[in-house]
């Protein structure tokens, strides 16, 4: 338990250091760090609409974060969540405007298609990772670019109405994910995300299969001697991770945009990976880190209006946080356990 507290402290200190460096960078672009901080907090939590906006931004980051957690636990890097989100979003939109189904069935059908699309998108990289040990980091990153271009192609060249906006037709109302409040686009996706986080947590901590995955992440050789079919497990794990990434996209389209367009959800996939890394691959911790990044993102909208800083300054801060966290492991490793370095997902 004290080990966990020490780890959490280290994480917080790393975040503090990153924020300090971020403040220096903000000074360098001629803006007051304090003003940026106040604006960020005001933009993220200033009134009920803004809080709902923060939760709205948090939802896809959380679900993408769970997708990342699932792969990280098994010692795998699914960096292609951005791409899975795009194909998932497109698939759900397609179901949303192509079929007329009863309300709940339509939503479930759309999300199922989103999951399937995400799964298909990772299937080839996953197969080659499992069978030939082909580096999944590069293959999933490259697949992102293809996914974004392919969905743009389908949107603009296949489904766009002549003379209309560069987007697909709107989905039918029966496919809408219900909104929680009348004043925000915040929807049931948030609950789905939290349920997925709890489900993933229980899977990894309470089931034998979850233990086998963690074992593989900690030490694949040892896991193989222990009788775990590494190849099969790698393949299935990446498929599940891809499916969750697809669901993140499905929720964005059925809950928020109600259509698909270019630049559908910029960067949520990467934010999810970062949130999962910051939470050390823990799904419950990812709820907290996703909220943090959602607040940063939502706060940055006001930041761009009220100050001269651009909203990308928050991606700089996110990157600095990850760098600081990845560096502080050295201190922690010296202090306590020697096995931390063995786990690929524990940076």
């Amino acid at each position: 338990m004290s080990d966990r507290v020490a780890g959490l402290m280290g994480q917080l200190i790393a975040v503090a250091i990153a924020l300090a460096i971020g403040a220096v960078i903000i000074l360098a672009v001629n803006e007051s760090p304090l003003r940026v901080l106040v604006t960020l907090i005001d933009g993220a939590f200033g009134n009920p609409e803004r809080i709902a906006g923060t939760l709205l931004q948090m939802t896809p980051i959380l679900i993408c974060g769970i997708a990342a957690c699932i792969s990280l636990r098994g010692g795998l890097f699914n960096i292609g969540i951005e791409g899975q989100l795009f194909v998932g979003g497109f698939a759900a939109t397609w179901v949303g405007f192509s079929f007329a189904l009863p309300p709940l069935v339509h939503v479930l059908f759309g999300l199922a298609f989103a999951a399937l699309a995400g799964m298909l998108w990772i299937a080839v990289p996953a197969f080659f990772r499992a069978r030939f040990n082909t580096n999944e980091v590069v293959s999933t990153i490259l697949a992102n670019y293809v996914a974004i271009l392919l969905t743009s192609y389908l949107t603009i060249n296949v489904f766009k109405r002549p003379g209309g906006q560069p987007d697909t037709p709107a989905i039918l109302e029966s496919a809408y994910l219900p909104q929680i409040f009348s004043f925000s686009r915040l929807n049931w996706g948030l609950f789905i995300g939290i349920a997925l986080a709890i489900g993933a947590y229980l899977f990894f901590t309470r089931t034998a299969r979850g233990y086998a995955v963690t074992e593989m992440g900690a030490n694949p050789k040892f896991a193989e001697y222990g009788g775990i079919d590494i190849k099969r497990q790698t393949f299935v794990l990446l498929l599940v991770s891809g499916a969750v990434g697809g669901v993140a996209g499905g929720i964005e389209s059925l809950g928020v945009h109600h259509r698909f367009m270019e630049g559908f959800a910029p960067g949520f996939g990467f934010d999810g990976v970062i949130a999962a890394l910051l939470a050390n691959g823990n799904p419950i911790g990812t709820i907290v880190t996703a909220l943090f990044f959602g607040a940063l993102r939502n706060g940055s909208l006001l930041l761009e209006v009220d100050t001269t800083a651009s909203r990308e300054i928050i991606t700089v801060i996110q990157a600095l946080i990850i760098l600081a966290v990845s560096a502080q492991i050295l201190v922690r490793r010296r202090a306590s356990d020697s096995t931390a370095g063995e786990r690929r997902w524990k940076f």
């Binding site: 803006e31 082909t134 050295l330």
Partner: protein, 324 residues
């Protein structure tokens, strides 16, 4: 037939060499880290930062050469941070590389807005590109002269670096040390080679080349800076590095394949009218196909090479092994 003639001619080869150069430069940089046993996913960010600061340096100084130096310096800083975290702090190289890529992307956009007050791209402001070099003897060589002349300087640097690197890895002491450190760190340690020193050196040389690649992108290939203009070239380079195992010649072949597919698809867009989205996806698809097709063969080759290197490493006198 007429379509084929319009697709394949000397101009296509020129276009191919043009599109090959930036990815070749960054891939050659990555070959140092690959050979030294570091998986460097941060190439993309180093290239992007190099491209940005090359533009800033040129605008401030008025000289594209100073710009190139600025670009290289910026990429070196990123490469140093990478080495510091990965080698000294033993942080996970994938995590650090990705974070540095995100940092480079966010930083260039933020700085662009802070300095120029715009988003999107920087051009004008007195920005000048690198001069085009016309080889004096090229006119007498007919179509071949057409192919080898008329590029910006860093294109020549990229292609000339390939034979230099082949010799470097085969015959120089540092080249051998880098390979030993990458393939058999235990052997390197036994020979008294400082692993971290070699890995720092490899990362920094990589930074120089990635910076040159970036500078070429913003001052040679085009004369502007655009948000995220490296557009995955760094990742494609990593894909090539994986299946070429960092060997300069195989790497060149891989990069030419990209240059060719890129140039051909751009041309197909104009002659056949294929959607630009599909055209833009071609290089990534080629990278994926090559990665999948060739990856399963890389393992046995690596072991063979390790054995060969071991033999050579053991023939090196241990007392001379401390210098790099």
């Amino acid at each position: 037939m007429e379509v084929l003639e319009r697709l394949f001619n000397a101009a296509l080869i020129v276009a191919m060499l043009r599109t090959t150069a930036p990815i070749l430069l960054v891939a050659l940089g990555g070959s140092f880290t690959t050979k030294a046993g570091i998986f460097n996913i941060g190439l993309e960010g180093q290239m992007l930062l190099g491209a940005f600061f090359a533009v800033i340096g040129t605008i401030v100084s008025g000289s594209p050469w100073i710009g190139v130096l600025c670009g290289v310096a910026a990429a070196l800083v990123l490469a140093y941070i990478f080495a510091l975290l990965v080698v000294t702090f033993r942080a996970n190289e994938v995590v650090v590389g990705l974070a540095l890529n995100i940092l480079a992307s966010g930083m260039t956009i933020s700085l662009m807005k802070a300095i120029f007050g715009t988003r999107g791209s920087i051009f004008g402001h007195g920005l000048v590109g690198l001069p085009i070099i016309r080889l004096p003897f090229a006119k007498d060589l007919g179509w071949f002269g057409q192919i080898i002349s008329g590029y910006t300087p860093l294109v020549y640097v990229a292609f000339l670096a390939v034979p230099v690197l082949i010799v470097f890895y085969k015959h120089s002491r540092l080249g051998l040390y880098i390979r030993v450190v990458g393939e058999k760190p235990e052997a390197a340690e036994a020979l008294g080679i400082s692993i971290s020193r070699i890995r720092y050196t490899a990362s920094l040389i990589c930074g120089v080349l990635a910076g040159l690649a970036g500078a070429h992108l913003s001052l040679g290939y085009t004369t502007m800076f655009t948000e995220n203009m490296s557009s995955g070239r760094g990742f494609m380079a990593v894909a090539i590095l994986i299946f070429s195992n960092g060997d300069p010649l195989k790497l060149l072949a891989g990069c030419l394949l990209f240059g060719f597919s890129d140039a051909l698809s751009l041309r197909m867009q104009t002659t056949l009218g294929v959607s630009s989205y599909i055209i833009l996806a071609v290089p990534y698809l080629v990278a994926l196909a090559a990665l999948f097709a060739l990856s399963y063969r890389s393992r046995p080759r690596l072991i063979q090479e390790t054995l060969a290197t071991m033999g050579r490493a053991l023939s090196v006198k241990p007392n001379g092994a401390s210098g790099s």
